[in-house]
């Protein structure tokens, strides 16, 4: 849960970038004739609102209203008492509290001539909340929009990539410490939490298991509003090296400019030696979808240049033992930069708690 550091730091993301992000969305709204975009997030997936405002939805739900012109407004069922904290840790100025999103949206548009409201990432809106809002603004036209903000987030800016590198430095250290010999599953969990949260992570979703001589640890960690994904299985089974071979095959294929289906095929070939009857999979997840494990979006054809994504190599044996190798990488014009991989060359840039 989001119990780590929450901070707005202009040295990391400057005012211009915050403005540019909203401007880019507003340009899209203008092109499709939408007067107000509404973005719904909850505590488990709050990255769209975080991307536009730096606000962390630390509890329950929130709706961000973005007008075609002007600054965004947060609509929340949380009390006004938390507004000062929200303003301190975000670029938001206008926050409004109420008992229902329908009433809040109706109040928000009350002084504007009727126009068009767009639901961003409409498929993921709770149907009941969407209907409640539609009923509350009878004079307005509503339309469903695609993942406009998620798409923008999938190509991180230079500043965001710097933050991801800083987070990756912390995460690599956490994985090093947590995969040392003699640690139990809960000790590995404990170590990951200690290192990442001292290192300034806002969230760390960690799972660890010990089964059949396999020890597995998986982390989805949020550093500021960027996510990093990493997973390791270690044990005595000789075929576990096939996970590394598969990841390498995928990365080498991507480095050579071949698209994802080719990389996936190469990686799966490297998994030929895993135990017979195992379920094998190699998939990629955009960093924009790490918070949900990529499970709330449809498959994308291939990562784009400039995209940060996770490569997940997973084997489930016939006896239900899971083995994984997961890392986060950046696809550049020059090839692939491995952010969380043990051989990453990037060692600079960690900020909070780097010396711990």
């Amino acid at each position: 849960m989001k119990r780590g550091l929450v901070v707005l730091d202009p040295a990391e993301i400057d005012d211009t970038e915050w403005t540019d992000r909203v401007d880019a969305l507003q340009t899209q709204l203008g092109s499709v004739g939408v007067d107000v975009a509404l973005i719904y997030n909850d505590v488990s997936r709050g990255d769209d609102i975080g991307y536009l405002t730096n606000l962390v939805i630390y509890w329950n739900e929130g709706v961000l209203a973005v007008p075609a012109k002007g600054r965004p407004t947060l609509l929340t069922k949380l009390s006004r008492r938390v507004f000062s904290w929200m303003q301190k840790t975000s670029v938001l100025e206008d926050l409004r509290s109420g008992r229902s999103f329908g009433d809040l949206v109706a109040g928000y548009v009350a002084d504007s001539p009727a126009g068009t409201i767009g639901f961003v990432d409409a498929d993921l809106w709770p149907a009941a909340v969407r209907e409640e809002i539609i009923s509350a603004v009878p004079g307005w036209t509503t339309r469903d929009l695609g993942p406009l903000v998620r798409n923008a987030r999938s190509l991180p800016s230079e500043a965001e990539v710097d933050l991801l590198r800083a987070g990756a430095t912390v995460l690599r250290r956490a994985l090093d410490d947590a995969t040392g010999p003699g640690l139990s599953a809960v000790q590995r969990l404990s170590t990951i939490d200690l290192v990442t949260r001292h290192g300034g992570f806002a969230d760390a979703l960690v799972r660890a298991s010990d089964a059949d001589g396999h020890s597995t640890i998986e982390v989805a960690g949020e550093y500021r509003h960027g996510w990093l994904l990493a997973g390791r299985t270690f044990g005595e089974a000789g075929w576990l090296t096939a996970l590394n071979s598969a990841q390498k095959a995928a990365l080498d294929t991507l480095r050579s400019g071949v698209s994802w289906p080719g990389a996936e095929a190469a990686a799966l070939r490297a998994l030929d030696e895993v135990p017979e009857g195992s379920v094998r999979s190699v998939r990629w997840i955009s960093q924009a979808d790490f918070a949900t494990g990529g499970e709330l979006v449809g498959p994308s054809p291939t990562p784009a240049t400039g995209e940060v994504f996770g490569i997940v190599v997973e084997v489930i044996s016939p006896t239900d033992v899971r083995s994984v190798l997961t890392d986060t990488v950046l696809l550049t014009e020059r090839g692939v930069e491995e952010l969380t991989g043990p051989d990453s060359e990037y060692v600079d840039g960690a900020r909070d708690g780097d010396e711990r």
């Binding site: 849960m1 989001k2 119990r3 780590g4 550091l5 929450v6 901070v7 909850d42 505590v43 488990s44 997936r45 962390v56 630390y58 009390s79 008492r81 938390v82 000062s84 904290w85 840790t89 409409a122 498929d123 993921l124 809106w125 709770p126 149907a127 009941a128 909340v129 969407r130 809960v186 000790q187 969990l189 404990s190 170590t191 939490d193 200690l194 949260r197 001292h198 300034g200 806002a202 760390a204 979703l205 960690v206 799972r207 379920v279 999979s281 949900t292 494990g293 499970e295 709330l296 979006v297 449809g298 997973e314 489930i316 239900d320 899971r322 909070d352 708690g353």
Partner: protein, 395 residues
């Protein structure tokens, strides 16, 4: 072998843990099916987004990680579960509270639809229907023509409100983790550390003890502190009051403790504030027994503030509620404020009169209790007082 005694209305039965699990599963299903019959429901569907997993957990007793999970309980057939994460199918099989676990995706809800169709269900209650994403709701509507979908969120809330002896045994185990969490919190307090460093120490300790998750708010400073927040880079200073709501989740159950501690010895005002909040919490506890309403507990707490001329600080401007239920969700029924629900034996909630006063700023103090036949039992064993960093282990 350890055994668990569970008391029914007429007899005490001693059963082994394996049997206890089966008894608990049967008890839950029976409770839900009674409610289904009263509402003419053919099946219940629990939907869980990642932040509201309590109903799926209630039916599966499994810690799932999928971004969207569901469980189906028919009126007269075995329960099944579904997840968007393949890895979830393994613990579902191991735990064995459902007859099958199947993989679904946002684009393919067919396994759920096939399951419901096979039941011939005409009216289905959905827990957290209010949170069901549009894409899944539309898939259910189109895949189940003629089937009425109604909310069963309240039905689940009511079913979960009274905890069984099996659940209370788990909550007592969770309480021990909360006690340890508070100890690690106090141990982390010293001038020069940041709020998020304190959280790191607590999170690490509770994970070492087996906690699955944690909900935690913190606020440090003097009397200017108006409320609780996630951690910041603020550095602790001598004389600070550091407040926390700490809520580890262990074996599915959230167990909250609210305490405040000073960095260095407390000032007279900080001690006075602590005494006030202890008195208010005690007053709330004193009225708890079966048959009392949740609101009466809040009134008892607030009366203490009113007695000292501080009644204004019990309003929405300064605080939220005077307590709330906890179990498989961390903010569940019954809410202790403006809620006239009659408290039943076995309900668990925290009594926390947390609010701002001019005495020493925002103050938190509270304990989770379970309603007993004659009153209430405090679940944690941490002393009910103001702590100081001077008490840190090894100092």
């Amino acid at each position: 072998m350890n055994s668990l005694s569970t008391e029914s209305a007429t007899r005490v039965v001693t059963i082994d843990p394996g049997d206890a699990d089966r008894v608990e599963r049967s008890l839950r299903q029976a409770k839900l099916r009674t409610a289904m019959a009263e509402r003419a429901l053919d099946a219940l569907v629990a939907y869980a987004p990642a932040w509201r997993r309590e109903n799926v957990r209630y039916l599966t007793d499994t810690s799932l990680g999928g971004a969207a999970t569901l469980a189906v309980l028919p009126l007269d057939a075995e329960a099944t579960a579904f997840s968007t994460r393949r890895a979830d199918l393994i613990p579902l099989r191991e735990r064995d509270w459902v007859v099958s676990g199947q993989l679904i995706s946002i684009a393919n809800l067919d396994p759920v639809i096939s399951e419901i169709r096979a039941l011939g269900a005409r009216r289905i209650g959905i827990g957290h229907l209010e949170l069901l994403p549009t894409v899944l709701y539309r898939a259910l509507l189109s895949g189940l023509p003629g089937v009425e979908l109604v909310s069963a969120t309240k039905l689940f809330d009511e079913a979960r409100m009274v905890k069984s002896p099996w659940e209370l045994a788990r909550m007592r185990k969770a309480a021990a983790v909360s006690d340890a969490a508070w100890k690690s919190f106090v141990n982390a307090l010293e001038p020069g550390v940041t709020e998020y460093d304190i959280v790191a120490e607590v999170e690490s300790e509770i994970k070492r003890l087996g906690a699955e998750d944690n909900f935690m708010l913190i606020a440090s400073g003097k009397d200017e502190v108006l409320g609780m927040t996630p951690p910041s880079r603020r550095i602790l200073e001598q004389g600070d009051l550091v407040r926390t709501e700490l809520t580890p989740q262990t074996d599915g159950y959230w167990l909250q403790i609210c305490r405040s501690a000073t960095v260095g010895p407390p000032s007279a005002a900080q001690q006075k504030s602590a005494d006030l909040f202890r008195e208010a919490a005690d007053a709330g506890m004193a009225v708890v027994r079966p048959g009392v309403t949740a609101h009466e507990v809040a009134v008892a707490e607030n009366d203490v503030f009113r007695k000292y001329g501080l009644g204004d600080y019990c309003t929405e401007q300064w605080t939220r509620v005077r307590g709330h239920g906890l179990g498989l969700h961390l903010d569940e029924w019954p809410v202790i404020e403006g809620n006239h629900t009659v408290l039943p034996e076995g309900a668990t909630f925290i009594i926390h009169p947390n609010t701002f006063t001019p005495i020493a700023g925002y103050h938190v103090f509270g304990d989770q209790v379970v309603v007993t036949a004659t009153g209430c039992e405090v679940l944690v064993s941490t002393e009910r007082r103001l702590f100081s960093s001077d008490e840190r282990s090894g100092k």
